[in-house]
């Protein structure tokens, strides 16, 4: 059985993110990191492999992105993936959700996974949609925002919060599961694993290698277009107190509340 884990390189959380108004795309020139939600997907894959309820032969990390995105794959491998696949091509630049789905589905098809795991959202786009997009392309069962996953009778028994409380869903394989950050506590990679990550197999693929038509990916294949970028309505900045002397801080809060008749 094979598990593919999708990973993405995103701007580091500490970086002030901005849009390049020339291209209307996210400026990715600063410090980048592995999308935090994806570390939970990798951990979920490792727990399935180590748990023994399913015979998992291989965990493959998959990404789409520029050359630098290899670093996200190396981190995924350091966290336990056996090898990785990097889809990279200038033709893919500027892909929206629809076009990204087409491209990622093709690279996943070439791997024929039994389970696809991914983080429920990326730190940069926050679209929450890729899991369900890929499931439809791959014709697999799917669930997103999963916070608990167990193997039961060869199926994945998953729990997640929906509109009315917690839902429990059993999915037959193959399946695409997008996980939330409450699902597990990702392990830290060992120094040995980090050092060894570069030695694990990395397969680089172009759009052409996968038979992707240039018209269906990148900007050409995108079905949405950002027509303008505006600042949000101005909001009066709130007051800020830095706590140095707690007694004084508390007095300030109480006075602030009292002035507004909130006590």
């Amino acid at each position: 059985m094979k598990i593919c884990v999708l990973v993405k390189e995103v701007p580091d959380a500490a970086v002030q993110k901005r849009i390049d108004t020339g291209t209307m795309r996210l400026d990715r020139s600063g410090e980048n990191n592995l999308n935090p939600f994806d570390t939970h997907a990798i951990e979920a894959a490792m727990q399935l492999k180590e748990g023994g309820d399913l015979q998992v032969d291989e965990v493959v990390a998959v990404t789409m992105g520029p050359g630098s995105a290899q670093r996200a794959l190396q981190k995924a491998v350091a966290l336990g993936a056996d090898r990785s696949v990097h889809l990279t091509d200038d033709a893919l630049v500027g892909s929206d959700v629809c076009a990204t789905g087409v491209a990622l589905a093709k690279v996943l098809e070439s791997e024929s996974p039994d389970i696809v795991l991914l983080g429920q959202q990326s730190d940069d786009g926050e679209c929450y949609t890729m899991g369900a997009v890929l499931a439809d392309h791959l014709k697999m069962a799917s669930l997103t925002q999963v916070v608990k996953m167990d193997v039961e009778d060869g199926k994945l028994r998953c729990e997640r919060q929906a509109e009315y409380g917690y839902d429990t869903v059993a999915l037959s394989l193959p399946a695409v599961i997008a996980v939330g950050d409450a699902i597990n506590e990702p392990r830290y990679p060992s120094l040995k694993a980090i050092m060894g990550a570069k030695k694990k197999p990395l397969d680089t693929k172009s759009a052409g290698d996968l038979g992707l038509n240039p018209d269906e990916v990148g900007e050409a294949g995108s079905k949405t277009t950002v027509v303008a970028l505006n600042p949000p309505p101005a909001k009066e900045a709130g007051e800020i107190i830095e706590d140095e002397d707690t007694a004084e801080t508390v007095e300030k809060i109480v006075n602030w509340l009292d002035e507004r008749k909130l006590i």
Binding site: Y128, T129, A132, T144, A162, E163, V169
Partner: protein
């Protein structure tokens, strides 16, 4: 017709979701401006009365797929894809909520359609819909248009107000054969409530606890602080509810409650968008957090940067003393 199709979510008792009703009202408004019609789509056991009643929100037609279960996205993708294709809908609209994200995403793949999510407003420009989508922690708003039809619009929670306008809608029963893979997920239990049944919607003061509390025990201090106020209660973020620190009934945000108390005092809450949408209409917002970069400070009236474990007990004492 070139109309707008809206998925209307309902619970096991047949009550429609408030965000779905808001989406119906919004679709009716936009359809009028576009010179077309808005329709609703429901699945499962929805009565004639229930379906027709959706006309009140301005839709003229309600598609009903009785043989398709409510609660999981993939069968609903099958139904919506067929209705959109057969009847030539130009847009599909969803209110805020998790299922709308999944159905909308499935339609994106199935129909090779553009999708915009977390939409806070929709406008008409040159006979087409353009969505306003806040990005980068709400620091910018992107106007997103569609280059082809259909276009998929997934609203942010509470983005669309419920407005009653029209009368009854015509019911169109549809029978759809489900895709083989759409039946591979089985809903075993739906809407399970976890933890005590607490009421946070009636409180004047809410102490909202997040992961920064460090552990379930951190909520004891929140309860003490809430108790110091008149009509105070404790609310929680999704992360701590998923971790089992506090009951689901106290959860605020995307998959929880929407509240608007006189005072919302957030402790150890980072202020993720999914939480923000559930409490941003509070009259006054105070945040205590040790991380000065926490997004919650962007929309707080008073921000306190410091250690909540030091501040909270003293604040509780001081408020009790003030009220004594």
């Amino acid at each position: 017709m070139a109309g707008i199709l809206v998925y209307a979510l309902h619970d096991d008792e047949g009550n429609f979701n408030k965000n779905s009703l808001g989406a119906l009202s919004e679709a009716a408004r936009l359809a009028a401006e576009l010179g077309t019609e808005a329709a609703a789509l429901v699945v499962g056991d929805v009565s004639d009365e229930g379906a027709q009643g959706l006309g009140k929100y301005g839709v003229t037609k309600v598609y009903r797929a009785k043989n398709v279960p409510e609660g999981l996205a993939q069968p609903i993708v099958d139904v919506m894809a067929k209705v959109i294709t057969d009847d030539g809908f130009s847009y599909a609209l969803f209110g805020g909520g998790l299922l709308g994200f999944e159905i909308g995403a499935g339609l994106t793949a199935r129909l090779s359609a553009g999708v915009t999510m977390e939409v806070t407003a929709v406008k008409v420009a040159d006979g087409k819909l353009v969505c306003e989508r806040p990005i980068l922690q709400d620091s910018e708003i992107a106007d997103v248009g569609y280059v082809s039809e259909p276009g998929i619009i997934i609203g942010r929670l509470n983005a669309f107000d419920v407005k009653e306008a029209g009368g009854n809608a015509e019911i169109v029963d549809v029978d759809v054969e489900l895709s083989e893979w759409s039946s591979k997920a089985e809903l075993i239990t739906r809407g399970e409530q976890r933890g005590a049944d607490v009421d946070i919607e009636a409180a004047d003061v809410l102490i909202g606890g997040g992961r920064g509390l460090g552990s379930a025990e951190g909520f004891d201090a929140c309860e003490d602080l809430a108790g110091a106020f008149d009509n105070g209660a404790v609310a929680a973020t999704r992360a701590v509810v998923d971790a089992g620190w506090y009951p689901y009934a106290a959860q605020i945000g995307q998959t929880g409650k929407t509240v608007a108390p006189k005072l919302y005092l957030a402790v150890g809450v980072s202020g993720a968008i999914q939480h923000k949408v559930g409490m941003m209409n509070s009259e006054t917002i105070i945040a205590i957090n040790k991380d000065s970069n926490a997004p919650i400070f962007e929309f707080s009236d008073l921000g306190v940067i410091g250690d909540l474990n030091k501040i909270m007990p003293k604040l509780t004492e001081a408020i009790k003393a003030k009220r004594a």
